[in-house]
Symmetry: D3
Subunit: 329 residues, 6 copies
Amino acid sequence: MTQPKTTLPNARTTPRFAGLCTFGRYPRLEDVIPEHRPVDWAIVGSVYDCGVTYRPGTRFGARAIRDESQYLKPYHIEHDLMLTEVFSLADAGDAPLDLFNAENNAKVLAEHLASVADPQSKVMMLGGDHSNTLGALRAAHERAGKPSGGLAMIHFDSHVDTVDITMGEKYSHASPFIRAVEEGVLDPKRMLSVGVKGPLNTRDDLNYAKDHGVELVTYENWRREGTKRIDAFLNRLGDDPCYFTFDIDCVDPVFAPGTGTPSVGGFTSAEALELVRHIARAHPAGGPNLVGADVVEVLPDRDVAGNTALLAAHVAFEILCLSALAQRG
Amino acid sequence: MTQPKTTLPNARTTPRFAGLCTFGRYPRLEDVIPEHRPVDWAIVGSVYDCGVTYRPGTRFGARAIRDESQYLKPYHIEHDLMLTEVFSLADAGDAPLDLFNAENNAKVLAEHLASVADPQSKVMMLGGDHSNTLGALRAAHERAGKPSGGLAMIHFDSHVDTVDITMGEKYSHASPFIRAVEEGVLDPKRMLSVGVKGPLNTRDDLNYAKDHGVELVTYENWRREGTKRIDAFLNRLGDDPCYFTFDIDCVDPVFAPGTGTPSVGGFTSAEALELVRHIARAHPAGGPNLVGADVVEVLPDRDVAGNTALLAAHVAFEILCLSALAQRG
Amino acid sequence: MTQPKTTLPNARTTPRFAGLCTFGRYPRLEDVIPEHRPVDWAIVGSVYDCGVTYRPGTRFGARAIRDESQYLKPYHIEHDLMLTEVFSLADAGDAPLDLFNAENNAKVLAEHLASVADPQSKVMMLGGDHSNTLGALRAAHERAGKPSGGLAMIHFDSHVDTVDITMGEKYSHASPFIRAVEEGVLDPKRMLSVGVKGPLNTRDDLNYAKDHGVELVTYENWRREGTKRIDAFLNRLGDDPCYFTFDIDCVDPVFAPGTGTPSVGGFTSAEALELVRHIARAHPAGGPNLVGADVVEVLPDRDVAGNTALLAAHVAFEILCLSALAQRG
Amino acid sequence: MTQPKTTLPNARTTPRFAGLCTFGRYPRLEDVIPEHRPVDWAIVGSVYDCGVTYRPGTRFGARAIRDESQYLKPYHIEHDLMLTEVFSLADAGDAPLDLFNAENNAKVLAEHLASVADPQSKVMMLGGDHSNTLGALRAAHERAGKPSGGLAMIHFDSHVDTVDITMGEKYSHASPFIRAVEEGVLDPKRMLSVGVKGPLNTRDDLNYAKDHGVELVTYENWRREGTKRIDAFLNRLGDDPCYFTFDIDCVDPVFAPGTGTPSVGGFTSAEALELVRHIARAHPAGGPNLVGADVVEVLPDRDVAGNTALLAAHVAFEILCLSALAQRG
Amino acid sequence: MTQPKTTLPNARTTPRFAGLCTFGRYPRLEDVIPEHRPVDWAIVGSVYDCGVTYRPGTRFGARAIRDESQYLKPYHIEHDLMLTEVFSLADAGDAPLDLFNAENNAKVLAEHLASVADPQSKVMMLGGDHSNTLGALRAAHERAGKPSGGLAMIHFDSHVDTVDITMGEKYSHASPFIRAVEEGVLDPKRMLSVGVKGPLNTRDDLNYAKDHGVELVTYENWRREGTKRIDAFLNRLGDDPCYFTFDIDCVDPVFAPGTGTPSVGGFTSAEALELVRHIARAHPAGGPNLVGADVVEVLPDRDVAGNTALLAAHVAFEILCLSALAQRG
Amino acid sequence: MTQPKTTLPNARTTPRFAGLCTFGRYPRLEDVIPEHRPVDWAIVGSVYDCGVTYRPGTRFGARAIRDESQYLKPYHIEHDLMLTEVFSLADAGDAPLDLFNAENNAKVLAEHLASVADPQSKVMMLGGDHSNTLGALRAAHERAGKPSGGLAMIHFDSHVDTVDITMGEKYSHASPFIRAVEEGVLDPKRMLSVGVKGPLNTRDDLNYAKDHGVELVTYENWRREGTKRIDAFLNRLGDDPCYFTFDIDCVDPVFAPGTGTPSVGGFTSAEALELVRHIARAHPAGGPNLVGADVVEVLPDRDVAGNTALLAAHVAFEILCLSALAQRG
């Protein structure tokens, strides 16, 4: 039997309602035993939420995801994958922030995420609003050796998040990707956006993405054509270093009521999970070469019965599994 | 670029959480500028809810829909339609009512809806319970020039609402269509009911509809056959003046918990929205000739996280888009 | 017109919000008129919930199901079946329990369920946690004349519930079926488990079921292959005496938030109901030979808007309809 | 040891979460053993709620009170009174109603309440909105032998409920006492209203009560003077046949969120219970001569955590204790 | 009979659940008839909430207060005051804001509040977080003719809000009064803070207030001494132009769950309302000379059953009554 | 300035919504720096909740208290006490348990609590149901050197918890103190029970306490006489080693909705906190000699807006302050 690389409490003897809440009951980063160092992925909460334009409150998102993740289990039945046998995983706590300055917050966050844990570790960020992803992309780009042209990205979202300026501000949750492209850390031509849908404010809201070569698989496109475009993108993507960002609002607000900009008529939880799993099946190498990832926009005060946070925990798990599958080959 | 016919606040500078809540942030009827008069559609709340036989409370439905509609956007991505460029839209407030007399309430409501705004304006009613639709049908029939034989109707609902008498009363939310047929404002042979499902009180509950030629597309029929019968109905319908009534309980109660007579096992939000959109694609003229419409049975005190009201706002938007598409041709 | 075998209040004159809450407004067992005796099915609540390993609270499940079942109607539209014409039905109240001893509780429950109502009556148990099913299986086995080899079983669940020992205990909600097999009341080779899914604690969690011949139709298998294996099982099953257990957590936690061990990414309500109905269509005799049944794991304190209990009431109705269809042939 | 007159399940062996929910776990009227007949008080639900002018939903009030009353215990610690030793108590289910005609509903209700159980039994009505009290007063007046001049009344409420016409209707929850006075079943000069408070619609809203001699102890008066006026009233009252009506909205909406016309700044639960208990201490005969009573305006869909219904159950218990104390002398 | 100065819908014929939600059903500022101009008080929402350090979400506070204020009535029973006969009142909508710059937001807000409605009108601001009060104080100071030494202030709050810098920011909800004193718009020696309580972060948290002469009436002081210090302050205050700010968190979080920095163990609603009313009784001129006011920190997503917003509406009404009483003399 | 003995994050720079949730943001026991060892008090969660007879779910209580305790501050304004300057405090995580055997669970818990942290440390237990207090009393008794006659105890509760057997079980949440007295770890003659109230199951429910010399200060006694008996008890108590147990249900269920056996009409939060503070003022040595303490019966699934857990965190803080005051003298 394979040795585990992450030590979990035994769920058959230590109940899931006991103990301090680290993500997935993984050890805190400072408690990881030497044999399990360096960790493969460090889980980091990002609690900034002043980048939003409608409902605020995702600053409590990371905490809620950790609470619900106590019920997360490590064996993936479909992939036949025991995640904790492939990866050393740890919870590295929450990143510092600048609550009152959006631009500086991205900087503070990027510095923390680039330096947390070991240089070869990767970071799974739990949000927080989507503006945090700009900092996370900068850090992942740096950890990946600053590949010229920037990172590729798989992006699940109801919104394309490429608005230039909102309420007078360039660094909001509507703008992370236009900024990331300008800075060279994200390559729009290797960016896939899945689940975008309307209605929109204007007929021009998708122009930036279309003009810059983003592969847009709208919700409607997926209903009509299935994963055709996704499959083609994954083939093009190959082993390029890739970031994965999952905005929970790509899921229908009935499945993810705990979010700030709900978009009616989206994926069910089952459909979203299936799409993430499909990435492994459709990718030529069994999974993309992930160099960083996040699950964002979880807003607990709107989260009925904890379903949004519970789903977010499972999405993070599924993304980690993609990375493990790529490593397993 | 086309001139807008409805003036909306700029969502990139005026936040959606500010200001008095008109539907979709449309102007109040009295504030519509002369160039935008007469309005094409006036939005009117109907707050009567004493016609119900199980859970009451839809009197707060119109208010809740307006609150959630602050997040409604005007551009329809699939239809490539900027609704506010096609239509002048306004919120005309709420209709008067007779809380204590069901029969008289229908009369009071019909008079108001027939005279609100300009004669050539149409009315989108936000409910309120389904008994209000009798008044709305009378008014729409009058506005349409009282076509003999009555109006055609597209009807989304879990229930067929053709019970003769309930709890001793002829004017309840179980009876609007039997009354409307009797009065000649509704033609059952050009009536399409989508989403009806069981269980039922008796095996005879659908007899009236079947006997009078209503096209019944039960939920189960749709699962088995898809839109086949709907498509045929739309071809028969052509340009006949048609009313559109959408009872939110046609959607599964998990998607619309805020309603009074929940029917387990119905449409998801995405399926319901897709069906409404499909009407444009399947109709020979690009959309039916709507002369009035409503979205009813929204009950905020049961509405978890506001999802029912948010969905209702989007359904109203989708119906207005059908009308705009028909006009665009 | 067929005479009813169960007397219900007239829903058109006696409102559903009035009166004491028996299941489905069926008469209490002691009030059943002589012409309707013996009852075909007695509904019994089982309120033990100390067998759980995560969230407790299903002791209030039976009460909640009864409350929501006031809106249950007797005519099944798809099966064209008036349930109350086929069966005499009654609510027999709640079973006694031993709150503080899991093993003894199963004994106390089994004795009650074996003796309640008439010997030829069958029992539909409303849970309570899944550990109660061990007692119910024993009672059903006894009522069925103790067929050697044990009962066949149709089992809807996210979990396979064949853990040997949990938290040091052999009689928990994780273990009913391993115990029932050991005792000879359940035949694993004629057991069908539908809806099982991951993630799991270990890669070995399904071994017991696989090794003992349980027909496992995981959620994913159903997505890929549909009902193929279910259909084959039903053909094999034939008229063997069969128990039906439905753990509400087989449904996605958004549809059944009121449960204690939520498993993300499962059936919608519509899909689950369709699967139960399908059993009648796929079974060679029009329905399995049910000798007992339950719906368990309903936890009202987590049940947003009552949807879980409302669904549970309808699932119980659907299962009773399966039995009626088998009898109708 | 005194023999009980009401048989309750033993709470130390039969858990409170099991069994059908009768009020206080009292027997159903039809199950009362001969030795306990006739019952002293019959508990009857009144589920009409169409008499309201703001939030509806009290039709589910009686059911909610019964659910929460499972935790009601029979021994009153302060009065040193075992209620079930003094009284035979039973739950007589819910009264019939006319949902669509306020005036007729009062008639239907009065007839039922006058004839339910034995002639010498009294009725404790669980509401329902306050319009039901008109029917209950008529019935209590009749049961009391139609004393000329009408009944005396103790009335806890934030509102004085003597509006002549509301929304065109004479029989609403704003008007029961003006109607009862007109009909001669209520004597305003022997009516005590406790807890009335503002703000009011007009400066004349209390004129009817003042002009007709009602003893008004506003909330503010109680804060300033305590029970001075209440004590004087009780001395005047003596043994006159008296009705007791308790509108749950006399309690602050934080203590009774489940109600339809919340009035900010009222009694705490403890203060309200203390006031009811005080009536026994201040009354010359140890308690008023109650001939009927009710607790009304409980609206479960707004009832956070069930506190309103739980309080209502305890208020009903306290009123029954007043009656028992008067009998004990 | 006195003529009203504010036209309200007749609550006996137009139900409170109908119509667009202006505060207290007052007319919109643009709809005020000429005879009622200029308005005495304009109600303005302030929806900025990025100044908070714990739970965000008060941006929806003004909307929630307006919704719940539909049940507000104009006659004050204790003061024997018909507010709408003394004052012309109007709802002037919401102020503009700068969501992303705390310092600039105070400027934008101050400019709007200084210029809205007529110069002689006063502004009642509905929050939004307490940082908005800095802008409101500047505007009130300007409207009052910029009295040297700044304005006096009555301040209800659990916190003294005189922190210099929080999370690196000078313009947060922890700092409005230190800034206002620095700017000369607020005179700390004529500032009364009622309801402050612990625990605190450090033993020095109250030093600024104590050192600058603020009259601190902590919650505990009030429990021990009652209104002694408040009465003395009001006597000192006399007719000095005075601002009134009410942070809803001075009330216990059970009475005001909808707020962001809950402080356990505070006033009940009744106690808080009584304290505001007491100001009229204790003031030598029958009420302070208010030149501006606000009710802030209402956070609807945490507001159970709407009680916080309902209380806030009534507090605003009570403050307006104080102003009316001072004018009445 | 005094050196802190407990290191807290700076709340002015590290926001309270960031980081893993230890109680009060105290360090984990394993992270306490050498200079702060041994800790004075270790906070330990006890998550067993199968000892309840009505609503279960307190197994999540310790987690909820920790979550809400993020907003706990260290300086006590009334006592002028900076708790973290007097005590070294740490969070020691949760105790192990035996979910399926009540008697053994008490043993497992007692062993853990007796050995956790250093021998001279004391334990503040966060519950969990009240049956856990038996284990905690044993451990405190052992840590205190097993004083003959057992420990004194201050007990806040609505129930006296001295039932011999419930549902056949001797080790439930109704029985901890009868067991503790039998075992000699608790001295009933030096036990003070505050807040007990009715109604009760029988007139004999308080006999055990009365017969064994427990000082019973019922809620009603406190309303009539204030703290007279409490003061006398504290004088008698002197420096005897004393345990402090606080059952959150002594507070009115509106203030503590998150609990399993709600008792209507109890203390407000402010009253309960004031009573705990009063113990310091009334005790001859400035505070009792506490050797252990707990706050129990917090049930998050019923906890509206988190108020129960927030209150529980503050009660634990107040009890720790009592201990610090006694040490300060």
